[in-house]
Symmetry: C4
Subunit: 276 residues, 4 copies
């Protein structure tokens, strides 16, 4: 095989693997998407004892098939890409390796529980295929709204954490260890559970004073939730408005009327022709 032919092959494969414009590329993406979803479902099912006991060998073989498929894909990606090292060290390169390797390690070490679950990281690969950006494109406003309000939301979260630490310490003093508030970190954890209105109930205040403080925490949390919502929705409205000024900047040269329709050719007020 001449070097030229090899390069042509590499280019062809690269197009299939990294792009989605050709039919082959699309097919590759769809097959990969299905394989990833199947592999994630496999990992989840494997962790269920009753299912694992019944279908152990089936799950094991499927897992091997998927691992080998992913290994081939990983090697092909390295071979076809121009700068292999850059890919290997990239975010998706590491994810690809981490989601493939556990099964091989299990061969050597045998039944490493934690490593097996690492395979759930495969789900992150879904983002690559879905090329979410394309779908998110429609919600660009949303993205820039979140970006624009990032600083404010950070300050907000920082305040939530400080409130939680102070109120958690107070609850630790008020309720004490006999009511489940065994130490300050646990009390802070309870405070976050309550402030975010999750409310597990595994720890709950028992003394009247503790319940009074808890009530204040809850009402505070109920009120605080308005802040990030208000920020995002206001920023989002602002983003949406920024886009609009393009509607029709024309002003009638005769009567100075504004706010013409987007497709307007004549002034709605005096009938004068509008030059766009």
């Amino acid at each position: 095989m001449s070097r030229y032919t090899r390069n042509k092959w590499r280019l062809k494969l690269q197009k299939i693997i990294y792009e989605a414009d050709t039919p082959a590329g699309k097919l590759f993406d769809v097959v990969l998407l299905i394989t990833i979803l199947a592999s994630v479902i496999l990992v989840m099912l494997e962790s269920v004892h009753s299912i694992d006991r019944k279908f152990h060998s089936f799950l094991n073989i499927s897992e091997w098939v998927i691992t080998i498929l992913f290994s081939i894909e990983y090697i092909l990606r390295i071979v076809t890409v121009k700068k292999p090292l850059k890919y290997v060290l990239s975010f998706y390169g590491i994810i690809d390796l981490l989601s493939t390797i556990p099964k091989y390690i299990s061969l050597i070490v045998g039944g490493v529980h934690a490593l097996a679950a690492l395979r759930a990281l495969r789900l992150l690969r879904v983002f690559r295929i879905l090329k979410l950006a394309r779908y998110l494109g429609a919600s660009n406003n949303l993205m820039s709204a979140i970006k624009a309000s990032r600083a404010k939301i950070s300050v907000f979260l920082f305040a939530v954490i400080i409130i939680s630490i102070i109120l958690g310490t107070i609850m630790y003093l008020v309720e004490g260890e006999e009511h489940g508030f065994t130490d300050i970190p646990r009390s802070v954890y309870w405070c976050i559970v309550t402030l975010t209105t999750v409310g597990f109930g595994d720890i709950a205040p028992q003394t009247p004073l503790g319940q009074l403080i808890a009530s204040l925490v809850m009402i505070l949390g109920y009120g605080i939730i308005a802040v990030p919502t208000g920020i995002v929705s206001a920023e989002y409205t602002a983003q949406a408005k920024k886009e609009k000024p393009l509607s029709n900047p024309q002003i009638c040269s005769k009567c100075l009327a504004e706010n013409h329709n987007n497709k307007a050719q004549y002034c709605y007020n005096c009938g004068e022709r509008i030059h766009s």
Copy 2:
């Protein structure tokens, strides 16, 4: 009975059953609405053991009365409609059948529990009578706001599910089986419970690290809720705004252009005078 008389009868019944303009049609709708509500309450009461024991025969007879009424209605609908097959295979046709048939089957098979509850589907029939569209008409803005933000909300929900699967797997590794996180699907379920700030508390993290991650999940969920709210409220504001410049019902008599400005006196498309 001549064919003509039969047709006249059919037309009359059709008007009563399918329309609500005539007094008879309105009466039919009100009676049907009460029957449906009564039947749903019956199904609910029947499932309560203490009530079922006391009033078994009363509930049974009432159920039969309602089933026969619904059967008559179902037959009348088939007879009077122009395309019976289309009705039978339509969404409401299937609902009507499914909500009538269980009682008859119980005669043959006897006490089929699951089938009985199927009758709760009758509630879906309420929507037909209420002709919700009429009430929703006022909230058209709301509907189009939800529609406009559908794509973004899908992306959002998709992200929520992926976050739940990844964080659920991490929690499974961190907390392990002895603390209730028996398998990955269950951990993912816990993660959704926490992220949506529901927080049942049937499963709750016990280890400090687990509680730390849980805190992050909760704060994340607390922040994430701002996103759909922001989207809907911004879209809704946008919809409300769009409506105003479109509120001119005039259509140009010359070029048939629509969507004239509210104060428009001349067509923006051809310059023709608009008579309001």
Copy 3:
């Protein structure tokens, strides 16, 4: 005492009781407010066994003092008002009677538990004194925003209830009685608990399928909360905007510039005097 003097007295008392413009009227309002709050706290403390045991006679005497004060107030209100019957049958008239009478009845019947708690209704009287309208005046926008979105919120709540009944019935079929879903009303209750993201955890799904449906319910609830929030916030924005057009409707007679400052006396664009 002549009839004239009596009338003068009645008028004076009426001013003190029903109005808050005179110093005496203000004093009356403050004293009444404190009495009401004290009486509500008394009712709450009385229900706590440990406190009731210790301070029974003190609580009893205080309750009698307050009851007699309220009785005097009730009689004075009837005597001074122009149309006594109208007052007695009004909302606040009934509340006033219901919050005074239980203590007297307890004399005859003795220890009627439920009647005692009726006194908590006294809290409703607070609204009269605070003349909340005055404070709410500032949030008129809010009130009209809620009013404007009432119809939409009703449709929304109606949909929430129907969803709860249908999903509750499905959960009853899926989870069954052994997992706490003993009957349909209880399942519907669970569904409302979950959909509103409250999540008590007294009932929780145990089967994988039940947990899957529960996840859908939770995500649905998480998304649905965006709807009323979006409605209120959009309506509120709309209300706030309606108010604004009053800012400055002037248009410069020379250059037709708009959006003049509220206090503007000269056009910001050409310096021409603006006639307001």
Copy 4:
């Protein structure tokens, strides 16, 4: 040391401690920030029994080091500031004292539990260093939005508390003591837990009627949350809008009027030309 040299030293120290413009001042701030965070983590870890047992002497020594560092800082602050008494009695002065003194008292009294936790107040000191205002500067809109909606949110919270007391009393009557609603304060606490959608589940209604009322409370809470969110988001949008027309920093050179329109060329107050 002459008085002059002492004054120069004092000024230098003052600049380092109270300002952050010089490199030394910045270094001081960073060291203080790290010390505060370390001290708070120490307090939290100390409360965990298993950690305290293992690392008791290490934690004790670290705590002493930090206490001495804070003592020095406290003395330096008093020495360098112009009005020492004003500092001592200021909010941060009291916080500084309260967060330093517990360790010294523990020497005399020995193991005073509650005092130890007082040290968590140190966290409040973080706000001083971070000079949060600087970060919050970006979110000035947010601050003024919250301020503007303060009155409305107070009315809202007041309404939430009254609703909770009334519904809590009703639940106390309906559910009674055998189902956990032992007294009215506890029922009110439950009502707040439910209304804010926290839902611990430590107390939960058992009777059908109680569950029905609970459902109403939950749906009410689910709807009510829309109100503060709507307020904040609308006010925030309004604040963002207000800012724009005010963005012209020009002040009329003749009449000193401010808040000129963005495109203003003439003073709206006196007609004088504005030079931008």
